[in-house]
């Protein structure tokens, strides 16, 4: 069975490393991108099965990434947004733009796994 490819866009290296380790341990192939530019590069190289992106990133914010994926690339892959707690306005905007789910910081890796699995099941 092919491993699902997951694009993790997170500028915090420690958190990204932790989540990458946990997701890989859960059986996903994780493609890491530290900023918006890198996300675009990775997307141009290969289309992942799901995107997990922080909402605040250098060069390209999570909202812009959703807009890019949905409107320019016209992809319908699930997008899960990681947002800091209380950033309700951004979360709502993200949903309006086409995000599938969101998870708030501090992130529970276990919860993230559940949400990723759920979104992938929907596809």
């Amino acid at each position: 069975m092919d491993k699902k490819k997951l694009l993790l866009a997170e500028d915090d290296e420690l958190l990204a490393s932790l989540l990458t380790f946990r997701l890989e341990k859960a059986g996903y192939t994780v493609i890491r991108a530290n900023d918006g530019k890198e996300v675009k590069e990775k997307l141009s190289e290969a289309i992942p099965d799901i995107i997990v992106s922080d909402i605040m990133m250098p060069y390209l914010s999570g909202l812009e990434l959703i807009d890019f994926v949905r409107n320019q690339l016209a992809l319908k892959i699930p997008i899960i947004i990681i947002s800091s707690a209380g950033n309700e306005e951004n979360v709502l905007s993200a949903f309006e733009l086409g995000a599938n789910d969101f998870i708030s910081k501090p992130v529970s890796p276990t919860e993230l796994l559940v949400r990723v699995a759920r979104e992938l099941r929907k596809v």
Binding site: L14, L15, S17, L18, F21, K105, P106, S108, P109
Partner: protein, 873 residues
Amino acid sequence: MNLLAIQSYALLDIPKIHTDLLWDLTLLFSILAVVYFGVIFFFRNKFTSKTKLISERKKQLSPMISEFLFYDTNDATKEDHKNYIHLKIEIRDLIKDEFNHQILSDILIDLQKDVSGETLERLYRLFKDLGLHNKAYEKLESYRWQIVSQGIMELTQMRVTESYEFIAKLINDKRGTVRKQAEMAAVTLEEKGIGHFLDTTRYQISQWQQLKLMDILRNRQDFQPPRFKRWLTSNNKAVVLFALRLLKFYDQNDANAMLIQLVRHKNKQIKEEAISCIQKFGVEEALDTLKMGFWNSNVNCKILILDTVTELGSEKDIDFLQRVERKSFNFVVKSKALSCIHMLQPETALDMEGLEDSSVESELEPSEPLSTLDELNLQKEEEHLEVIDPDPIEIEIQEELPSGFNVIEEPIVVEDKLEPETSIHMEDLEDSSEQLDLEPSETLSILDEVHLQIEEEHLDVEDPDPIEMDIQEDLSTLMNIIEEPILVEDILEDIAEQPPEPYSEAPEFEEPIQSNNTEQPMKEEKKDKPVKESFSLSMEDLMNLEVISDEILYSMDLESFDKFFKDVPDLDDFIEIDKEEIILKAKPDFNGLRLDSDRTASNDNFYEDIFSKKDDCDKNILLDTIFDVGDEREIPILKLIIVNEDNMGIRDKALKILNGISDQNYWYSEEEGAVLEIEKIRARCIFKPLFETADTETKLVLLDQIGIIGDTKELIFLNTQLITQDLVLKKKIVQTITQLKERIPITTDEVILEDDSNTIIYDLDESNISSGILTFDDEIPIENVEKMYTVENFYNTKGNMPLDFCFLLEDLEISPSQPSDLLEVEFELGSIKDQATLINIENESKKKGGITTNTFLDQILSIPSILKDIFNG
């Protein structure tokens, strides 16, 4: 000559600098620049490399941490377990290095912010497993507050609960940052921490700290808050305040009795918080205490109390609210009280102020307001204001008309004669008459005679309660009314029958009904004093009082308010707290000035009606209040007080306040019984014109005469002359003032001297004279003065003249010519011998080659004169 030329050339030459010195300096600065840039590059590279190293080490360590965090013994295979043990050994070796230890600690502390759930718990365990907390413990022992604080923070963030005992000791640390960090740590680490903190803290808890602590408690899972009423009796006010807030936050309503007690707390914040708790928990038993404490509270507290009374009270509290509305002179409090009344009793009478009667609007000019009318109308209005009776007062007017008019003896009730639809506000009377287009000269005089005089005077549309009156709009009907006597007795009876005040008011609140005035024909009254004028004056002044109370006071900040309220003991005295019942004192209160009942009082009667009825204490307080918040609009009242007051102390105080708030300086003349402007008194002094033009000798003679025949005018005038620079003259003036003081009674100790630009307050007390401007004790014999003032010594009397010439000028009615500087020569007289001596000294110094001037600039400046001297030989 050569020597001088050489000297001047030498001064103009550029100094020679050795080339070697320049090279040495170049080398020195080059070395310094290299060292400077070298140090910069060194440290920059050091920091960069350190950052890079940290980053690399983090990258190296983070997978290991992830491995530790997500290692599950249940799912792990033998291989995984073996790797785990190897990893553990490796990481323990790594953290033996101080640097790695710090990096690992930082990684875990950073990660705990980003992760939650089970991972977070594992992270805490890992921190302790690796022994990273031991380093944090060591930091607690540091003498540097920032290190201690960092240690506390690390232990707190990583939930090292074992550190609680160590950290709790720092709750009363003298270093603020350590203390605050310890407080938060204690509350975070242990559930009992908040209790321990509230028990032990001896310091203030800032608002921000309280918020932080509450946030920690709020986010604490499974937190069972203690009963915070335990700390309501703490000696630390900050603890009491915080406990009240926690009480409110956790809805602990088991401390009602203590809350009621705390309403009487001296600390305003505690008081406000207690009231807030009472409001939230609905402690109805506290209402009486709140009402009793109302008058001692500041504005914020008052608003809170009114809110609480509205929330918890019933209709029986309306009396209290009405009293608040009447007695308070703070607009916000009054307004709040009104709103509370309407909240408790929505159907109560609405204050119709500001509402227009649309039924008559089309016919009448909207705001040609209630004009003078007469004292009858004023009284009616006062009564109306006082009783707040919503019903219009119906007026019957009776008046004896002059014999020239066809008078119908039978009194006619105006209301009966008028059409129902013609009922309008009395303030609109003038407008209706204007529409009638009467002949001004004749008709107005008629109107005057029947007290339905049409006023040109503008009455403020905001005048609280418009008095309604029925009027016939038709001219013929009006003329009938004019010709008929109108009874005022019934009106007065109506007024007297108005419902009394629900509380026993101070006597001055009850305006006496002056029926005797109404018995006088209006025409006569108008002869004595034009109604328009008298009304205008009184209303203006009383509106000014209103301005003081409502605008100036309202514009004061809270501290000023508090201070102001402190200065007003009567507010506290309005009620006497006698266990259960509130007794209103029937004590005269100067605040009556600000009450509606007094607003329409005539300014001329102010002293008799209001001020004279007060005791000295109240008078003083009133004067203090005028001094604090009054302005030039209080001048007429102050003059009245000064003229009518028998108590010299109060009169003097009023005079001082008058001088303080007025641009002019005033003097009370006992002989005339009037307050006079000092300028005018000074102008009355017959010595003034002579004194201004006289020479010093003449002035001394004049002063002798002033001492013998002078009075208050001269005393004031002399006080203005004390600013003279002539010491002998000044001494003589002081002697004359003393002489005058002995002869004439002085009503005040203070005389205000007005200079051209400055106002000097000069105390006439001997002690002040001796300690102040003048220190002469002995009189100067006039013989000595005469000797001193010979013609040669009168160098400073330019433009002045002897006494005979002064009178001559006065007889000829011409003013003295202004002193001219035209013939003044700018040199000093000296003997030829002195000049020769000076020249000799100069020549000697030149011969010595020295220059009399010392500085370099002086030398340069002296060159032209030296050259000039040389050329001139």
